[in-house]
Symmetry: C2
Subunit: 341 residues, 2 copies
């Protein structure tokens, strides 16, 4: 029956608040607040009384009220194209992991490559609902004015937003060089690079730039195809089939992400092209989940773990008031597997 106490007293009562606890414990709300926050001098007796009362009422301090008072939400907004994509799923996971350890919660939004949705998220989140923002979407920043006059700590992932917004990415230039040089070293000559169309700034073209530089240094002709990141599988397959038709001499691909590389491997199999003997492939990303599913794919591994850690670190510094603009590049490494000979 003692166990029923809460219900007896509380079944009709809405959520208890501080004054309820204070009344039950026979102290003032201020004292209850002090006990919760362990602030100031308190007698052991008072602490016990208050804690007993809180327990009895199953009291939880109202987070929103504390947020209003403290002017902090301890929440970070994370905007990605979609967490359904393994890359952004892993990124979101890593961000949440580090943010949680730093005391923050995560509000996620899938922009779904919809500029309108991204803007609506920004409008809501910029209204002091979060203490900061991590932006990993792909939409054209110039169509999203909110980024220009945003007055909140922001970190972008692998994307240029504004001079004063720090950006975290893998070392795209090094990755592009690494992939291209490796393919050449292994005998490839007709190497095609596929890249995303969603790049709107020179700083976002570094993989392609590296590929072209390396090709030219070796006296080879660079060929780059642009892929729409949103392409459904069937359109992707048609896309790769077209490349094979237009370039029957191709003996290697460097794709801008692993999902594309995987589609490419399927098309190659359908066309009876042997990998790696006739065709070598290197992707980009190296997300653990994808690697687990398709271990034979060679790829440039982005250190998503370190990238998330860096992003969280930068964000915390921004929140503290530091200036931390600039491009933060993390080292990549090559994962050699069955798609290389």
């Amino acid at each position: 029956m003692a166990m029923k106490l809460d219900e007896d007293e509380g079944i009709t009562m809405s959520q208890p608040k501080m004054t309820d606890v204070a009344k039950l414990a026979g102290v003032s709300p201020t004292t209850v607040s002090r006990v919760i926050n362990r602030r100031g001098y308190l007698s052991a007796k008072t602490i016990n009384k208050v804690e007993a009362a809180m327990h009895q009422l199953n009291y939880r301090p109202n987070t929103v009220a504390r947020q209003l008072q403290s002017q902090k939400t301890m929440t970070i907004g994370v905007l990605v194209p979609t967490v359904a994509n393994p890359f952004f799923g892993e990124l979101t996971f890593q961000l949440e992991h580090y943010l949680f350890n730093a005391g923050f919660k995560v509000l996620v939004g899938n922009a779904e490559n919809d500029i309108g949705k991204e803007r609506r998220y920004l409008q809501q989140l910029l209204a002091r609902q979060v203490d900061g923002l991590v932006i990993a979407t792909h939409n054209h920043q110039q169509q999203i004015p909110e980024y220009q006059n945003a007055n909140l700590p922001i970190v972008s992932i692998d994307r240029y937003l504004r001079a004063t917004i720090p950006n975290v990415s893998s070392d795209n230039y090094a990755g592009g060089r690494l992939a291209t040089e490796e393919l050449i070293r292994r005998g490839a000559v007709h190497i095609i690079h596929t890249d995303s169309v969603e790049r709107f700034n020179k700083r976002d073209y570094l993989r392609q730039q590296a590929y072209q530089d390396v090709m030219r240094e070796h006296g080879l002709t660079p060929v780059t195809y642009k892929i729409d990141f949103n392409s459904r599988p069937d359109r992707l397959q048609a896309f790769f089939n077209r490349i094979f038709d237009e370039h029957p001499e191709v003996d290697a691909f460097f794709t801008s992400n692993d999902m594309d590389a995987i589609q490419l491997l399927q098309v190659a199999r359908q066309r009876g092209i042997a990998v790696p003997d006739q065709l070598q492939v290197i992707g980009y990303d190296g997300v653990p989940t994808t690697t687990q599913i398709v271990p034979e794919l060679s790829t440039i591994v982005q250190p998503l773990d370190e990238m998330a850690k860096t992003a969280v670190d930068l964000l915390q510094r921004e929140i503290r008031g530091d200036q931390v603009a600039g491009s933060h590049k993390l080292p990549v490494k090559l994962r050699v597997s069955g798609s290389l000979r």
Copy 2:
């Protein structure tokens, strides 16, 4: 220079509030509030003045203050094992999609199969920081007392939490039957079922139950192996190798999820077992991303889209005060592909 107005006035000013707008527009805060919320009668002139002032100050109403006043956060907490897993990534995506359309934001937490972390999330979120919760984690609910006295709308996904908490799942029994019957129909006799160890309630055993029922109906001997959902790839491979060693006669598998099925296919390839000629495989989940990556896998497709929609619908009804307990099962379908002969 007119473009610089904001900065001239606002560079040193912190975030403007309603009184700032009111002062600039020469009205009371209440009127500003009315304009924002389009409530009551307002003269066109006043609306214009206020909107001009809001625009000039780049004013955004403080969300937290509104939340405190309205006693609503329009935010839903979503707890999953990890969004890095394609199944939960897709689930989270779908949930966010429907929640956004219903006006809600999403706070995600990765429980990481850590009971402590799941509890800390619950303690925080139950403190009125969200208007409801979607629980898709795998931890043992009996080790998480918060679920028993949680005083907030909750929906669970494919998992029993408490009698009064509605649960959404695919029709696991039908799915188990469908898979097993299909394998038998296609000539399999020694069919092994692998299932997750993270099932703590009879209601969570329906796939296994269906498998066993069908096997017995056909005079076959059911063999179920339990897998730890968290197993790293190498441990999973060792696990499947052990099964092959212990049951060299096996000619089909029905696995409890596609990731396991994919590892199984890799082990079969390593051992030189031909799929589907020597071994047929049916997985469970049928997430679009996974299907795109491994199209040859046959599987029972869960309608994640419909499940998310249903969960959001139930949650909204709970928030309105309706009683909506019970188990909500959605129909599955078989996807036939290369791993079936």
